[in-house]
């Protein structure tokens, strides 16, 4: 396992930024600075074990859903989006980023599920079990939102619905090539017997097909739980989840060798995620300079990342939801059961300029694509305090050094000398280096010029 050998040298600021960019949704300077000098494993453990505030479901989510009134349903979807966005803007926990990976694995979309109560329930299930893939897998089968999304609640003994069985193998556990069409047909039989009762899924053996089935080479009177257990024992399952974790945390095309190394940890830990992250994120491999900036930010990572960097996490939750939607990541509405494809799919001729415009207008305190002002969640105008942002860095009155600090904080890869000169020129806007003074009235506009130029760079889209 040479690949994942522990890196023991104390974290530099660059390395600290790399770690918090990949682990959290809020990779601020303050957070990165707080772990500089620590041993990587020590820093990873500290981030993993940081205390979390409780996150109760909205009150309405515990009540009986009204599944008739569309207006009511729509109102609750919006409230659900707000509820979750509020969390990712206020919690710095590593759990938030991990949950997004699971939401993008065990997908459900609110329009198909329709009932926000069930979507909230699914989110809370993923949240509680985010560090235990095996438990999550067992619970997703009878999850009310999933039962509705992939028709498990309509699957009938004798005439099973194959939807969930196929996606279980293909998208949730094994990946294509590791199961047969016959496995899908047989597993569909085993997944019968589920119905939704109020807020939860209930299993009724009377309704389940208890006959003999052959699934992944094993024959028996399998029920739903057996399918999960048989699947989790497949070597392909650990590799499938290992690849997902590597794509979320390290690089988009990990080598087969690296995948196998991570899969080994998953198997020995019975699919618990904490040991994997601890080893992976403190490894020499993770800190390879070549892997800096290897991932493209999701809209969530872009928006929450910028808001937290500029310390304006009070920004209107509704606005964050709108921006994510325009950048093709509407909260709780993945486009297909495959989830958001991510990476290159985030960047198109429409979304790339839109990402640039979002960043620029955000810094000016404007909403993208309109003259409307940016507001906080209470509707008050909100303009990021770029001077306070600059003042958190040392040597703030040295023009060269402040450009370097800001670029280091906002960009995942080092800027070139030419880029440094260009950014300096943009910030100075005709003035001389020695004239730069963060307390001068003109510094506000100059700081905005600098940050806006940075967020326009393709490099800003990387993490």
């Amino acid at each position: 396992m040479a690949n994942l050998r522990e890196r023991t040298s104390p974290l530099t600021l660059d390395e600290a930024f790399h770690l918090v960019r990949r682990m959290t949704l809020q990779p601020t300077y303050a957070l990165a600075a707080s772990i500089v000098g620590k041993r990587p494993a020590e820093a990873v453990a500290a981030l993993l074990d940081a205390p979390e505030a409780p996150f109760p479901s909205p009150e309405w989510a515990a009540k009986t859903p009204n599944v008739v009134d569309f207006n009511e349903a729509y109102k609750l979807w919006i409230e659900m989006q707000r509820w979750w966005i509020d969390r990712v803007l206020t919690s710095t926990s590593v759990r938030e980023r991990l949950i997004m990976m699971w939401h993008n694995t065990f997908t459900s979309d609110y329009l198909t599920v329709y009932v926000a109560h069930w979507m909230v329930g699914q989110h809370q299930m993923l949240r509680s079990n985010a560090f235990d893939y095996a438990e999550m897998s067992r619970r997703i089968v009878g999850d009310a939102a999933m039962l509705r999304y992939l028709n498990g609640d309509q699957s009938i003994k004798g005439r099973p619905n194959e939807n969930f069985a196929r996606e279980w193998f293909e998208l949730f556990a094994l990946g294509i090539g590791n199961y047969t069409e016959n496995d899908v047909l047989e597993a569909a039989r085993a997944f019968t017997g589920w119905r939704i009762s109020g807020l939860v899924g209930t299993y009724n053996r009377q309704l389940a097909d208890l006959g003999e089935k052959t699934i992944l080479g094993q024959t028996g009177p399998w029920e739903w739980k057996d399918v999960i257990d048989i699947t989790l024992r497949q070597p392909a399952c650990a590799r499938f989840i290992a690849r997902k974790l590597l794509r979320a945390y390290v690089e988009h095309e990990p080598s087969a060798e690296t995948i196998e190394d991570v899969a080994k940890i998953l198997r020995s830990s019975e699919y618990r995620i904490r040991p994997v992250l601890l080893t992976l994120l403190s490894s020499e491999y993770f800190f390879t300079p070549n892997l800096r900036g290897a991932l493209i930010k999701s809209p969530l990572e872009l928006v929450v990342g910028l808001a937290s960097a500029l310390n304006v996490t009070t920004v209107s939750r509704q606005y964050v939801s709108q921006v994510m939607t325009r950048l093709t990541q509407e909260p709780f509405y993945p486009p297909t059961v495959e989830g958001w494809k991510g990476h290159h799919a985030w960047i198109t001729s429409s979304t790339f300029p839109q990402r640039q415009r979002f960043g620029e207008s955000f810094i000016d305190g404007r909403q993208v694509g309109s003259s409307s002002k940016l507001t906080d969640d209470a509707g008050r105008n909100l303009i990021p305090d770029v001077i306070a942002f600059m003042k958190q860095f040392p040597e703030v009155n040295d023009a060269d050094k402040i450009v370097a600090h800001v670029a280091q904080a906002l960009l995942a890869i080092p800027i070139t000398k030419e880029q440094h000169e260009a950014l300096l020129e943009i910030m100075l806007a005709g003035a001389q280096k020695y004239e730069w003074d963060v307390n001068a009235p003109s510094a506000v506009q100059r700081a905005r010029f600098l940050i806006q130029a940075i967020v326009r760079m393709p490099e800003f889209q990387l993490m």
């Binding site: 939807n163 800096r292 415009r357 943009i426 130029a453 326009r456």
Partner: protein, 539 residues
């Protein structure tokens, strides 16, 4: 008298025959303008002589791809109402014979598809039955990728068939961008179909005005130079983004111009998402955008009708009926608009979906993932009113119980590439990784309507001197019997010279005395086919 041809002559006869075959398809064979000319001022070219403008427009054959994402249930789309098994296997969701719209003695349209029925009846829509591929995959994502990359079921392709085709038109893309986008996808996503080896060969946007504002709405504090290209993941992602940003920058204007120029639609498009998208496509075409391919899709896997495909008490209503109505109504409006705007003859379209659905319904008033299904090809130049392939055979099924293949989906792509875009069989074979020309159904009325660039070059054997001054001698590949002549036009389209071609040798001599220096287009007219090349005149 020596009648033995030299080796050189033999070599030159082979393309001559292929050029002729292109021309002999029975109709107008129009050559694609070489990229060389595209890089000249195309607007100047089109802005002059109205005949040349017409010519340019004719050359731009357009294909509209309509993706029915999610796996369309073919059996409930084109209904085999004389097949008892169809009703046996689908007790709840089968469409009763009496409710279908007449198609022929054994098949009926889903009642929501009145528009498709009219197009079929008037001869502008063809059906290809039983389309899939060997060892079909029942995964949405794998199945979709296979269709978009045009690969075998066990090959994981990284480029799309459209992207590969477009790359042959613009080999130096994206370093040199053609004046107009080669392909446009309406929506925010970029389809794998459009991916070439050098990245996306097209652009995507939801709305032309919004696209323009996005690209041009930036602040003015200056740009930061690109970091050097480095062979790291980050370096590759930066290059990827810079290329996309650049094509967005270049094309936002031309897209907006086309959209502004198009004026109001002459027909009422349906209010559906797919109707709105086809409306945008119609405006861009009518406004003069010269993209070859437009791609539209439903936003989600809408055709994935595992449950509640129909209502429980009426199998002609419900989700699937609504989807088919959206499709049929939107495509009908679109083709009517193209007809009213005078573009019907150069616009065709085809539908596709990653798979059909199982023969038998499941217990949730739906159908699970299956295999073969019909697809539709539409357009005024489509050999319409025809059904390729037999009715679905519900007796002889594959081991899983699904429909067997009648046409490989790449047979249909081959029809498009050969018959609609007029590629040579060898080029189509390269693009589809295998020769599908034998199985390609005859879908387009004019067997060949354009000649690809390679063939255009082959139409001209030699041209010289170039640069020229007083005269130029042109040797072309045309049949001895054909009536061929040459014209010389300037880049604004004004014709300056005409010369005949000596029929036996294929040689024409053009007098250039008195013409101003500059770049000129030499056009070969042979029968009803044409080809272009350019010369420089120096003084």
């Amino acid at each position: 008298m020596n009648t033995n041809p030299t080796n050189e002559e033999t070599a030159s006869r082979i393309p001559r025959r292929s050029f002729l075959r292109a021309a002999a398809g029975g109709g107008l064979a129009v050559a694609t303008l070489p990229t060389l000319i595209e890089s000249l001022s195309v607007q100047a070219l089109a802005g002059g002589d109205p005949r040349l403008q017409q010519l340019l427009e004719e050359q731009d054959r357009v294909l509209v791809l309509v993706q029915m994402a999610g796996g369309n249930d073919g059996l409930n789309t084109v209904v085999p109402f004389t097949d008892r098994l169809y009703y046996d296997r689908r007790p709840t969701i089968a469409i009763p014979k009496s409710k279908t719209l007449p198609l022929n003695d054994t098949l009926g349209w889903h009642p929501a598809m009145a528009g498709f029925r009219s197009m079929y009846d008037e001869g502008t829509l063809a059906i290809v039955q039983g389309v899939t591929y060997p060892n079909p995959d029942r995964s949405h994502f794998r199945g979709t990728d296979i269709w978009l990359t045009a690969t075998d079921a066990d090959v994981f392709g990284s480029t799309g068939w459209v992207g590969r085709y477009l790359h042959t038109l613009a080999p130096s893309y994206p370093t040199e961008l053609p004046a107009h986008p080669l392909a446009v996808q309406i929506g925010n996503a970029t389809s794998l179909a459009m991916l070439g080896s050098a990245g996306p060969m097209g652009i995507s946007f939801r709305d032309p005005d919004e696209f323009y504002r996005l690209v041009n709405g930036g602040g003015g504090s200056g740009d930061v130079p690109s970091s050097e290209q480095s062979d790291t993941p980050a370096g590759r992602e930066i290059a990827f983004m810079r290329n996309i940003a650049r094509s967005a920058d270049v094309y936002a204007n031309v897209v907006k111009q086309a959209n502004d120029k198009s004026g109001a639609s002459s027909v009422q498009f349906p209010a559906s998402d797919i109707g709105a998208k086809l409306k945008v496509v119609s405006q861009l075409i009518a406004g003069g955008l010269r993209s070859r391919i437009y791609l539209i899709s439903w936003a989600n896997n809408n055709y994935d009708t595992h449950a509640n495909q129909t209502t429980t008490d009426d199998s002609t209503l419900g989700v699937h009926a609504n989807l088919l109505r959206e499709l049929s109504d939107a495509v009908t409006a679109f083709m009517q608009e193209m007809k009213n705007r005078g573009h019907a003859d150069r616009v065709s379209g085809m539908t596709f979906s990653e798979f059909g659905r199982r023969v038998h319904e499941n217990g949730s008033v739906g159908t699970d993932h299956g295999t073969a299904a019909p697809l539709f090809v539409f357009g005024a130049q489509v050999e319409g009113g025809r059904i390729h392939g037999a009715n679905p055979d519900l007796v002889n099924l594959d081991p899983i119980g699904d429909l067997l293949m009648q046409y490989d989906y790449r047979d249909v792509y081959a029809s498009v590439l050969l018959q609609w875009f007029g590629l040579q069989a060898s080029t189509a074979q390269q693009l589809l990784f295998r020769d599908f020309s034998q199985g390609a159904p005859a879908l387009f009325r004019k067997a060949t309507t354009s000649v690809d660039e390679a063939e255009t070059r082959q139409a001209f054997v030699r041209i010289g001197p170039n640069p020229a001054s007083d005269f130029v001698v042109v040797q072309v590949n045309v049949d001895a019997q054909s009536d061929a002549w040459l014209t010389v036009s300037d880049v604004r389209g004004v014709q300056h010279r005409t010369a005949s071609v000596e029929s036996w040798t294929g040689v024409g001599r053009i007098d250039l005395v008195g013409m101003p220096a500059g770049t000129y287009v030499v056009t070969l007219h042979a029968g009803r086919s044409i080809a272009h090349t350019t010369i420089q005149i120096t003084r």
